[in-house]
């Protein structure tokens, strides 16, 4: 079954299709949530919320609006950000780590049993400072192009091309 059919089945509330999609993307979603929340128990919770939300709002997704992965990614970033803004969270965690995804990957022991572990670790160790920030902001934090440009003090037009060359390196290593 191709991805398109899978998503259609999922939209018709087919639990099997949902499970397949879940297995494709849950680690990524978990990674993004954890990068924002920085607490593995809380991020487990948020990930569940995210997929439940995707399940119950399945019919609101349309391919024309973007990739399915991107759709779930958006739900996840919003849910994670809502979580860290919540009062309960703020009182339990006074200060969040300032590490970036690269630091998490470098110290991630869970990675050892993944086949791409070596490639990914190699990728982040070779990544330039600007690439680290662009990827962090665009994919993990969901910054807009404009926000990235402002944070890095580079022209807005440069964000796109710079990001492309960063992702190109990633593709060379992991695909």
């Amino acid at each position: 079954m191709n991805l398109e059919q899978l998503i259609l089945q999922f939209q018709k509330k087919d639990a099997k299709a949902f499970e397949t999609l879940y297995n494709m993307y849950s680690d990524s979603i978990h990674g993004v949530v954890y990068n924002i929340v920085r607490d593995s128990a809380i991020s487990d919770e948020v990930v569940q919320d995210v997929f439940l939300k995707a399940w119950s709002n399945a019919e609101s997704y349309s391919q024309k609006k973007g990739r399915f992965f991107t759709w779930v990614l958006n739900i996840a970033r919003n849910a994670a950000i809502d979580k860290i803004r919540s009062k309960a969270f703020k009182t339990s965690k006074q200060n969040l780590d300032v590490d970036f995804f690269v630091d998490i990957i470098a110290g991630n022991t869970n990675l050892e049993n993944q086949t791409d572990a070596i490639g990914i670790k190699k990728f982040v160790s070779q990544l330039g400072e600007k690439c680290k920030l662009i990827i962090e902001f665009l994919y993990f934090k969901g910054y807009t192009q404009k926000e990235v440009a402002e944070s890095l003090e580079i022209p807005i037009g440069t964000v796109k091309t710079r990001n492309r060359s960063c992702i190109q390196k990633l593709r060379d290593i992991v695909l």
Binding site: S26, S43, D44, L52, R67, G142, Y143, L175
Partner: protein, 262 residues
């Protein structure tokens, strides 16, 4: 549409990141239907991002962990409860409210986009106005210079094969400047440059006043040149790049004699 350039622009990476506008998302989607290479590119970008983000996951959450929750939800949906009008009208009201909110939000986003476009356009216009102002100031300065009382006008006419060419020299002896209006000369070909000469006639002695190396790029083709000579005539020749020590007479395009009576 140049698909390769479109891919190279980096727009697809932003598409996967979810950072495009609704309109752009739609555009990428439609282009993907027509161009398989675009779809392939998106799939590869997505696959690499899926792998990268998965690498920051501290542990996996098994699907079974909440399988019950989704099947429960499904069961509830399949067993319609008795009609509860209060609940339904409550839902209806909140849906209408949410619809209204989304509409306002959309409107707001659209307006913000418009403001951004307008402010970029304004910046462009400001740059153009600035440029126009500079041009105007420059033109005024030239006009003032040419209107000075004691200025001598020397028309230079086309010579020999070049009788289409013409130029004019305005000579202000008070400040030792000539203004050469060379609109009647063609652009200098590659490797060549226009050179201006001051001449005394008896005996015929040329003195170079310099080359005009910015001729082709100058807009108004008026050049201010210092001239301290007691010139009796002015001539313009086409010389190799860098100019020559004495004029190449076969390449004399225009020549004009100074009328000494003011």
């Amino acid at each position: 549409m140049d698909i390769k350039a479109y891919i190279e622009s980096g727009i697809l990476e932003l598409y996967v990141a979810g950072q495009l506008s609704e309109k752009e998302n739609q555009e990428v989607y439609e282009l993907m239907q027509q161009h398989p290479e675009l779809l392939k590119e998106v799939l590869e970008i997505e696959a690499s991002i899926v792998k990268l983000t998965a690498a920051t996951s501290p542990n996996s959450v098994k699907f079974d962990a909440f399988k019950d929750k989704i099947t429960d939800a499904k069961v509830i949906q399949l067993n319609p409860k008795k009609t509860d009008w209060v609940t339904y009208s409550g839902w209806a009201a909140s849906i209408i409210l949410a619809g209204g909110l989304i509409w306002t939000l959309n409107n707001n986003t659209e307006l913000t986009n418009q403001i951004e476009t307008v402010s970029t356009e304004r910046q462009l216009l400001e740059i153009q106005i600035e440029k126009a102002r500079d041009n105007l100031a420059e033109t005024r300065r030239l006009l003032d210079a040419l209107r000075t009382k004691d200025i001598l006008t020397v028309p230079l006419n086309g010579q020999g094969n070049y009788d289409f060419a013409y130029a004019k020299v305005y000579w202000n002896k008070n400040d030792n400047t000539i203004y050469l209006d060379a609109k009647g000369l063609p652009n200098a070909p590659e490797g060549k440059v226009w050179q201006v000469w001051s001449l005394t006639l008896n005996p015929l002695t040329p003195t170079s006043l310099g080359i005009i190396d910015n001729f082709n790029t100058d807009d108004n083709k008026i050049f201010a040149i210092t001239n301290t000579n007691e010139s009796q005539a002015f001539g313009i020749t086409l010389e190799p790049d860098g100019g020559s020590a004495s004029p190449t007479m076969e390449q004399l395009y225009t020549l004009g004699v100074v009328n000494t009576a003011p």
